[in-house]
């Protein structure tokens, strides 16, 4: 009894000191609570559908950031992992009758293998070469998909997959919870030693190697981890849409994820997640003007890039928080003195 009370007190203290002090963390907390509480307020299946898809793509975008933002390996063919995860889960579900909670992780493992396969040739490539090479992998896989339609269903894809659960609300909760777990996992990875090495590899790979760290291993690890999360997103997508088709491998899918991540701010994990939850409903909103939809989307991107080239969310964060000049801890912008070291903030 006492133990439970202790943990609850500790949890609240943590909230008070770590979360409530910063507006950005408050927003994240409110956002997660909002997502979880939403089905209690409204039952609109269309709204839930949009949020489910947004959650799936949030995992996808965050996984791109893990690879290309943190580790600096610009991946323009991220749709490969998505497609492998989707097709993997679909094939397992259809031929081996595995239920979704089995086929999706196994499909994601397939994406991990794909990550290894493309990571190895990409080890020696840098910058734009890497970007353009990774672009070609999903295209090659699409060619293979069309070449063996008996297995992959050709351009029709694989249809008739099981739902994750019968009810829309159930699907919503499962997807949102999985998203939160995955994103937190990715965030924790970047916050750990591995994450530091990823940062370092991006900044100066030669120095990292000179420090004795096997960059090959860490780069491959980045590919595989990123592939795993993206594959999970692909599997979830396949089971939600109940169809896994070549549209999961398209160039536009790869470009979309890059747009989301850069729009939301690279080298954060929360940036792409936030961007997806802003841009995806926005694109749906633009349905009011069906001819101008994509055009408005492109213009929004261009304008945001013009004014906030680091990404929308970091820009917002910089407006509401400041960094203390002495101890480098973040504070609310309205504070005059730092909350930790009490120096003046100006």
């Amino acid at each position: 009894m006492d133990l439970i009370r202790y943990y609850i007190r500790k949890f609240f203290k943590l909230l008070k000191t770590e979360v409530f002090v910063l507006p950005s963390r408050m927003i994240v907390l409110l956002f997660i609570i909002g997502l979880l509480v939403l089905p209690l307020i409204t039952n609109d299946p269309y709204l839930l559908r949009i949020l489910i898809l947004a959650s799936i793509f949030a995992i996808f975008a965050a996984s791109w950031d893990l690879l290309s933002g943190f580790t600096g390996q610009m991946n323009f063919g991220h749709a490969l992992f998505f497609g492998v995860g989707a097709y993997g889960a679909a094939l397992l579900n259809l031929h081996l009758d595995l239920p979704p909670w089995g086929s999706i992780p196994l499909g994601a493992l397939g994406a991990v293998v794909a990550g290894l396969i493309i990571g190895i040739p990409c080890l020696r490539l840098r910058g734009t070469y890497l970007a353009l090479t990774t672009l070609s992998f999903p295209i090659i896989l699409m060619g293979i998909v069309f070449a063996i339609p008996e297995v992959t269903g050709g351009e029709l894809g694989i249809s008739g997959l099981d739902r994750i659960v019968r009810s829309r609300v159930g699907q919503y909760y499962i997807t949102v919870v999985v998203m939160v777990v995955m994103v937190v996992a990715m965030w924790k990875i970047t916050d750990s030693n591995i994450g530091i090495i990823f940062h370092a590899i991006r900044e100066d790979e030669v120095a990292v190697r000179a420090s004795g760290i096997n960059t090959t291993r860490y780069k491959l690890m980045a590919f595989c981890l990123s592939g795993f999360f993206a594959g999970m997103a692909g599997g979830l997508y396949a089971h939600f849409m109940r169809i896994a088709g070549p549209s999961t491998l398209e160039v536009s899918m790869s470009f979309q994820v890059v747009i989301w991540a850069v729009f939301g701010g690279v080298v954060t994990i929360w940036g792409p997640v936030g961007a997806v939850f802003i841009l995806f409903p926005l694109l749906e909103f633009f349905r009011f003007w069906p001819e101008f939809r994509m055009l408005l989307f492109a213009i929004v991107i261009l304008l945001i890039l013009l004014f906030m080239p680091q990404g929308l969310l970091p820009w917002i964060r910089d407006k509401i928080e400041n960094e203390c000049p002495r101890c480098k801890i973040r504070n609310v912008a309205t504070r005059k003195t730092c909350r930790i070291c009490a120096t003046s903030m100006h």
Binding site: Y129, L132, S136, I139, V258, F292, L302, L305, P309
Partner: protein
């Protein structure tokens, strides 16, 4: 059969070469991966369609109007949207993607998604060693060589060319030497887009005009540029013909697998990169300061 393959690869290769040279130029000088390059090629194609179909002029007039229009459009959009964010590579990348999408949507709005076509500059065909070749394809091939020659002249013999070459080699020092580096980048962008427009004029009678026509050449063009080595115009030229040959070989030797020609070309590119990560003629960039 062999004659077919050789002739086809020469023609396809020329198309890719024309596109890749422009792309390589802008990358080498301004370090901008201009994903919208083929989108400008598409805009030029639509300009020509408009002039020939709605105004009724000969395609040459379309070309003379289309190329300057597209160049102007390119330079203006570059100045407004891309130049301010040049320092952020990632932002430039998706900025050009967004620009390409915007251009596509504008074309879709004006012309709708129906397929159009443009009459050739010189209609008809002739036969050479048993292979039928359109005059337009011959023009494409000759144009590729002419452009390469002209570009070489520009780069080697003129002051602007000198500025472009030195900016490509070392941006900061060129700036120190008194060349207005952003102005040079603007010119390079202008030349590159003019090339894209010109390619549109020359190649478009052989293909279909529609708002999504920029995606496929984009992939092949990037494959060519990567294979040849980024920043090397000579490399792009040769790589274009190599990949053109690969595609032609696939279509002729495996007619059942004709749809795989793109995948095969890309696989070849990856294989070469495995052996030589900078591409065939590329220069391995030192870490930029």
């Amino acid at each position: 059969m062999f004659a077919d393959i050789i002739i086809t690869s020469l023609i396809n290769g020329s198309t890719y070469a024309l596109l890749a040279i422009g792309f390589s130029l802008v990358f080498g000088v301004a370090r901008i991966v201009n994903i919208a390059h083929t989108a400008f090629y598409m805009v030029a194609a639509f300009c020509i369609f408009f002039v020939t179909h709605h105004l009724g002029f000969h395609p040459i007039v379309g070309m003379l109007i289309g190329v300057p229009v597209v160049t102007l459009l390119g330079m203006v959009t570059y100045w407004i949207f891309i130049a301010p964010i040049r320092e952020h590579e990632a932002a430039v990348l998706i900025g050009t993607i967004a620009l390409a999408i915007a251009l596509q949507e504008v074309m879709l709005l004006i012309f709708t998604g129906d397929y159009r076509s443009v009459p050739p500059l010189v209609p008809g065909f002739f036969t050479i060693i048993g292979v039928k070749v359109f005059y337009q394809q011959l023009i494409t091939f000759v144009a590729a060589l002419v452009i390469l020659g002209a570009l070489r002249l520009l780069l080697m013999k003129t002051r602007l060319g000198l500025a472009i070459r030195s900016t490509a080699q070392d941006r900061e020092v060129a700036n120190l030497m008194g060349m207005n580096e952003s102005r040079v980048a603007l010119y390079a962008v202008g030349i590159s887009i003019a090339l894209a427009g010109f390619t549109g004029a020359v190649v478009v009678p052989l293909t279909i005009v529609e708002p999504f026509m920029w995606l496929h050449p984009l992939i092949m063009m990037m494959a060519v540029v990567v294979l040849g080595g980024l920043g090397s115009i000579k490399g792009s030229f040769f790589a274009a013909y190599i990949l053109g040959f690969a595609e032609a070989a696939v279509v002729f030797l495996i007619p059942m697998g004709a749809f795989l020609k793109g995948s095969v070309a890309l696989s070849i590119m990856i294989l070469v990169l495995l052996i030589r990560p900078e591409g065939l003629f590329g220069i391995a960039f030192e870490e930029e300061r």
